[in-house]
Amino acid sequence: MSHASIETRRANGAMPRRPQERIVTLMHGAGGRAMRALVQDTLAAGFPAGAPWAVGLEAMDDGAAIPLADGWLVVTTDSHVVHPWEFPGGDIGRLSISGTVNDLAMMGATEPLGLTSAIVVEEGFALADLERVQSSMTTACLEAGATVVTGDTKVMGRGELDGIVINTTGVALARSVVRDSGLVPGDRIVMTGTIGDHGIALMAARHGLDFDGGLASDVAPINRLVRLALDAAPGAVRAMKDPTRGGVASALHEMAEKSGVGIVVEAERIPVSPAVRSAAEILGLDPFHIANEGKAILGVAAQAADAVLAALRSHPRGADAAIVGECIDRQVGRVILDTGFGRRLVTEPEGEPLPRIC
């Protein structure tokens, strides 16, 4: 069997089995509605309630927050599995630090106190590769101003694991906490840069497609970028979310639903690099559904939007930042795209986006 067909079968694991048999499918891991339902109904159900004033599990936010005397302690955790483990623009090491640092930052906690790193690795994984992963983790830590303070290592037998899995947990203090549910009508939607880069670069690598080397993952810690935005207009950033799995579509939906607003975005204002635009067009994919690993969506009070935008653009990772839309008091929970021709709904992806078949 060709490599391509093995990949296809992996992706098609998302197809439903017999309807009466309830099993976990890849769709549950794709970051969309199915995943939220699984977490809400099964994985997060039944734990004793946390303290009522804390941001806990029931908030389904990027992390948890516990109030201290003069601020908040924010905690988040993330397991990283990516195939291939090394891809254009990064690797699993860089991803594992960036993912957790960014989840903290999305809560307003931009100065991590420390990270944990739990690595599960498959027997046979080359030590030289492990050293490369470790070195990328170090580089990402330096960029983020973070460090790993404790860890755990497990080795599993050959074939019991696909290479390597890294879990990181992050702890940080925040002066104030930003939720993903704080949007109000009139707020502007700001994106910190181009969308779709990570997922498209990975998909091209997986399918052996070469787009003249123009594709690279955006994986990066963006806590310092986020700090600039927060300081530009204190209190004006009302909601944040990083559009990872499920892409911008899922992130905007979650923000709209939790905040009780509708969101209208304009296609022509959304930054998409020419390489991603072309690759997505060829593969029949919607950049809205594609994962990002170094971007954030901010909901900003209208009068502060320009100041926040200027602050973002002053940082190299925010050079392509743009105001892309706004929140409305109608169409609650919906995301609407103005295509320039007309308007339509944006839906969340169902399962892993697959390249077009015909």
């Binding site: 069997m1 060709s2 391509a4 067909s5 296809t8 079968r9 098609n12 197809m15 439903p16 089995r17 017999r18 309807p19 048999e21 769709m27 199915a34 181009t194 022509e268 959304i270 930054p271 998409v272 690099s273 020419p274 635009r277 050079a319 392509d320 743009a322 169409q331 609407i336 795209l337 103005d338 295509t339 320039g340 021709f341 007309g342 308007r343 339509r344 709904l345 839906t347 169902e350 399962g351 697959l354 390249p355 077009r356 078949i357 015909c358």
Partner: protein, 378 residues
Amino acid sequence: MPETLARDDVHELKFRDPVKARALTAAIERVLDEIGRDRVSVMHVCGSHEQSIAKFGLRSALPRRLSVIMGPGCPVCVTDMPEVDEAVALALDGKVVATYGDMLKVPGTAMSLAEAEAQGGRVEVVYSASQAIDLARGTDDEVVFFASGFETTAVATAAVVLEEDMPANFSVLSAHKYIPPVMEIVAEMPGTNVEGFLAAGHAATITGSAIFERFVERHGIPVVVAGFEPLDILAGLLKLVELIRDGSAAVANTFPRCVTAEGNLVAQERLWRVFRATGGNWRGIAHVPNGNLRLRDEFAGVDARRRFAIDLTPLWGHAPTTLLQSCICGDIMAGVAAPTDCDLFGKECLPGNPVGACMVSNEGTCKIWHQYGGHPEL
């Protein structure tokens, strides 16, 4: 800066110019004024047209009194249950069934191919006919290519059937369909009121636009061949309402950069060397004379239907789900109902768990409306 580049990019795509689009919709509006009726209905017969219309939000920009109906333009959706049953039976019988991803979830009488796979059947997703051949080259097991699609895709199947070094363990189970005959059926259906057809540009690159001359003569309804970019579709619709206004039953080609009157003669020759048109059921629509493409006798050896004794009886013990009886896919594909008229739409019937075939395929009206909101007031 990518933002600027992205905008330049949009303008480089000259068939996606919103300013020109607005000029075209204004022109359509004026022609509708001249027609003077409060409803003009036209039909397209192509999932790719519906994808474009929905993806670019064209319906919300078009005048409300112009009803653009999607007809039976999704080959996956019109694949009849017994055709799926044949593939299911082969998969359960140990043959490797290679097919396009869209076909996996299409319900058969007893089960879909995805369900057959869950019961131990062998199903492989391929992206092309030639990938199915590659699959056969890599194994000694029998590989059956369950081929679906209109004449465009059928040409690709014909090309592999004509390959000289075709592996002996490869065969084709054809569910290919031929579009021109079903247009005749839909035009004659009571209750459709279709005043003009927008024909699919990609199929017409093969068949040529002249193929619609006979249809136009017989039914007195204009046909416009159109491409798939937003401006292609709007220009096609403008031409179509102009022909309706003028009472002119003619064929027009608004996709001349790809389509000629005679079409791709080499492709046509191969298509008809391998396939013959024969009557058959299109799911939910009707028996369509000459609507199915089947392998000619010379290729009996490659024809899975003749190579294997396909036994469907073990499948007949299973009744279709009762939900399926409320499915109105047939009416939707015939253009007499919209997805929102269906009680199951968006409730019991969802892309993750489709009841009818229109919710399965990316080219199905229900799936597209579920994805993009159909005809919304936004």
